[in-house]
C-alpha cells in the first residue's frame, strides 16, 4: 500500500515538472516567433521606403550580361561586342523593373499530355540618362552594371 502511495506521489511530481517544461517550451517558441517577426520587419520597412513619392528619387540598378561572338578577330573586338550586348541586357532589366513585363502563355494538352508549352514575354520602354557604374569582362562573359535615378515627375511623364 505504501509503495502504491509513493508511486502515485512520484507520478504527480513528474507530471507537474513535465507540465512546466512544456509551458516553458511553448513560451520559448512564442518568443522565437516574435523574434522572427521583428527580424522581418526591417526588410518590410525598406520595401516601404522604396515607394516613389513626390519630391523623392529612386536609384534603380541592374547588372546585364553579354557574350562575345565566336568569330571575333581580336580580344578587343570581343570585349566591345560583349559589352554592347551586356548593356542591352541591363537596359532590358531596368525596363522590366520600371515598366513591367507583358507575359503571354499557351499550353497545348492532347490526350492528357502537354504537347507544347509556350511562354512569350515582351517589354518596351524608353530609357534616358543611364549611367554605367561597373564593367567586368572575364572568360568571354561581360557584366555591366547600369543605374538610373528616377524621379516622381519623370515617371509620371
Amino acid at each position: 500500500m505504501k509503495y502504491a502511495l509513493l508511486f502515485i506521489v512520484l507520478i504527480g511530481v513528474y507530471s507537474l515538472f513535465a507540465g512546466n517544461a512544456n509551458k516553458e517550451k511553448y513560451e520559448n517558441s512564442q518568443v522565437s516567433n516574435e523574434d522572427t517577426q521583428t527580424a522581418i520587419s526591417p526588410s518590410q520597412t525598406d520595401a516601404e521606403e522604396k515607394v516613389l513619392t513626390e519630391n523623392k528619387t529612386i536609384r534603380i540598378s541592374a547588372v546585364g550580361q553579354g557574350v562575345a561572338p565566336v568569330n571575333t578577330i581580336s580580344p578587343a573586338q570581343a570585349y566591345a561586342l560583349a559589352k554592347r550586348a551586356a548593356i542591352a541586357d541591363a537596359y532590358r532589366i531596368i525596363a522590366e523593373k520600371v515598366k513591367g513585363v507583358r507575359v503571354d502563355g499557351q499550353d497545348l494538352v492532347k490526350n492528357m499530355m502537354v504537347q507544347r508549352s509556350t511562354v512569350r514575354t515582351s517589354v518596351q520602354a524608353m530609357i534616358k540618362n543611364a549611367n554605367i557604374v561597373e564593367t567586368n569582362f572575364k572568360d568571354g562573359l561581360c557584366e555591366v552594371e547600369i543605374e538610373i535615378v528616377l524621379s516622381y515627375s519623370q515617371f509620371i511623364q
Binding site: 550580361q65 553579354g66 557574350v67 562575345a68 561572338p69 566591345a80 561586342l81 560583349a82 554592347r84 550586348a85 548593356i87 542591352a88 541586357d89 537596359y91 532590358r92 525596363a95 522590366e96 507544347r116 508549352s117 509556350t118 511562354v119 512569350r120 514575354t121 515582351s122 517589354v123 518596351q124 520602354a125 524608353m126 530609357i127 534616358k128 540618362n129 543611364a130 554605367i132
Partner: protein, 139 residues
Amino acid sequence: MRSRDRDRSFLLSIYSIVLLHSLALSASEYLISYRYTVKDAILYNETLSISHAMKKCDEKNTFTKEELVLENGGITNLQTIISKNTNEFIDYIHKLGMHIQHKDLTVNLQNASTTVLTLKTSCFKVDFNDTFVRIVPLK
C-alpha cells in the same frame, strides 16, 4: 531722294543680315539614327546612319547641356570623325535616350530572346571648328 547717311545705314543693315546668315550656315545639321540587335546575349547587328539634313530642323529647343565635343584632327567629314571616336559617341547616344524593345520566347523550356535598342532618327547641330567638333541635339 535718299541722303548719304540713309544709304550707309541701309548698307550696314544688309551687311549685318549677310553676316548673321553666313554664321548660321557654318553650323550644319545632320540626321543620325542608331540601332543594334542582341540575340541570345550575342550582338547580332549594329547600324549607325549619318546624313546631312536636306531640310532645316526645328531649332526651337536646343539642349546645350547635352553637347558632345570631339577632336576632329583637321577632318571635316562627320562620319569619319565619329568612326574615330565610336565608343564616345555611342555612350553619348545612350545618355540621350534609347528605345528598347525586348521579346522573349520559351518553347518547351527552351529559351530564345531578342533585344533591339534604337535611337530614332534625330537631328543634330554640328559645329566644325579648327580642332574640335561640337555636336548638339535639336529636339
